[in-house]
Point group: C2
Chain length 342, copies 2
């Protein structure tokens, strides 16, 4: 029997493989695998469902992640998927598996964060499962939301000349992680070290306690702008933009100097000697929104708070490119850590 | 800071603790934590959601569990929760975390089982997440179904004099597990052993590849019987019946000689020297339905295929009891392995 290692085909390869034979059987299943969330038609409003699983040692390191922050983040990353559909989250289910090393108080702390996120985003925790594991903590959350059919935004609606926009700033969560990893190494050598991380508080918070951009959707709604395509940035700008282009069958052109990067990220970039554009393109975990709007909406969208136009959609044959500050055109690649020099 | 071990308060204690502060904020959240599934009101039909997480070494042992069976079972245990609400499953989301020891082919095999269950039960796989873990395989599934509001059956509707019914037979999955565990020990001593398990094929299948009792709900519907309370038997009859009694604020009286036990379980019981009634009460994983019906439905329900009346609901002050074959009255306890002698 043939044995292919998971690493040989990668996560997306595996997903493609596992989902290729799925066929939709129910009329109520409007949209299944392949976007940020699934859509289920229940009469006049559509039910929108998304799920994520977080495992200790892979998604989080409890050495520097407070459990309350972890619970908050675990919810937020799921809600972010629903917002990226232009849906309103209403309920979540939470399943956890925990090893014997966790105390009741530790799990309570985790749920404090979960409940706080539920309060902040107006979501009900409606179910779940709690079990043991032989291997640390695993958190699986399913978020359920609703949207009018005509309000939903998928990944596949981008058109040639559409403006490409992002919210907030990019790369911060990645730099926050690098700082935390650096301090962990210091701590492991000297348990008495008390690092002053106040300079990095913004980027560390971006890593440990991100927010979902509910406010951006409200801004768009107030300004009567409906994105043609949208996705949340969990894996880095490159990867997400390539998803939109692939599913919309388009190309894209973005500009390095338009990509919003926070001042703290620039400082961390210099200190850690990691290119800030590389972090923005490939760092991930920013949970900002990436979306496209018709060119005709330019006047409506320009100058809106915390929304940045970083480029535009092109015909597919023009490729997917970023124009660097020096004028050089570089092809966008997912997880392309080596294709852009510092 | 106080440190309470998880084992000190148990799973139900932990759930109570974690859910006590939850308040419902959305009108669409009809029923949240506290039953087999959550209910979300989307216009004329209600959306019903349930979730489970399965971890290697806790819920399954890959030494004797074929991955295809595991995938099938992981889906079935979730659907069983929806059927226990008298709802119709329509969609599932599947999240898995896998360690490097699994090949692509192994994960495909798992999904073959998942897809087979989807086909058998007419359910669409509409989303999920795939990630790595440092610790074997974790499967988290959320099942989503629909029901007319008036068809839903909760745990809290049982009334004094209601008949207590179960489907199928009880204890088989537990005996199947004991046989598998026994053969594993033999195998670990002698890798060339080739056990003949044909005598146990029924109980082993009950453990490895259970079914959800969709057919029982169809039978009840055809015969115009609506249960007053219902739950699926995942933790053993005792535990589930105590859930119904607690939430319905009733007592119960069941009879040992009425509890359906398959002949293969009786054989395994003798061989393993484990009481069959203990296995039925506390073994778990049978995924049969436990439900109550009004006494007036006695003529309608008696003699229905694969449905057994095992006792009746009583006033709360009468307690929760089982009458043994010898006439002795014993209080029902959850996970009470020692309170009934062989």
């Amino acid at each position: 029997m043939k044995k292919t290692k998971l690493s040989d085909i990668g996560e997306f390869g595996l997903i493609d493989l596992l989902t290729k034979d799925i066929s939709i059987k129910n009329k109520s299943t409007v949209y299944g695998v392949g976007d940020d969330a699934a859509v289920i038609n229940n009469s006049d409003k559509q039910t929108v469902v998304s799920t994520d699983i977080l495992t200790e040692g892979v998604h989080f390191d409890l050495i520097y992640t407070p459990l309350k922050h972890l619970g908050y983040k675990a919810v937020v990353v799921n809600l972010s998927d629903l917002y990226a559909m232009n849906a309103t989250p209403r309920q979540i289910t939470v399943s956890i598996a925990v090893s014997g090393k966790f105390s009741v108080e530790a799990i309570e702390e985790l749920y404090q964060g979960i409940n706080l996120a539920c309060d902040v985003y107006g979501v009900d925790l409606v179910g779940g499962d709690t079990t043991s594991s032989f291997s640390g903590l695993i958190i699986s959350i399913t978020a359920i939301g609703e949207a009018k059919k005509e309000d939903l935004v998928f990944r596949n609606g981008a058109k040639d000349t559409d403006l490409i926009c992002v919210s907030g700033d990019l790369g911060s969560a990645y730099f926050g992680l690098q700082i935390l990893e650096r301090e962990k190494k210091v701590f492991e050598k000297d348990y008495n070290s008390q690092p002053d991380l106040s300079t990095y508080s913004y980027i560390i918070e971006r890593q440990l306690k991100p927010e979902a951009r509910k406010d951006i959707l409200e801004t768009l709604k107030i300004n009567k702008i409906k994105p043609t395509a949208m996705i949340d940035i969990s894996d880095g700008l490159s990867s997400e933009l390539l998803h939109i282009c692939k599913q919309s069958e388009t190309g894209c052109k973005i500009f390095e100097d338009k990509i919003p990067i926070d001042h703290s990220s620039t400082i961390a970039s210099d200190e850690l000697n990691i290119s800030q554009i590389t972090a923005a393109l490939n760092g991930g975990e920013d949970y900002e929104l990436l979306f496209t709007v018709p060119l005709k909406d330019f006047d409506k969208i320009k100058g809106l708070k915390d929304i940045y136009i970083i480029g535009h959609i092109t015909d597919e044959k023009n490729g997917k490119n970023i124009i660097l500050r020096n004028g050089e055109t570089v092809e966008l690649k997912a997880q392309g850590w080596n294709n852009i020099k510092n």
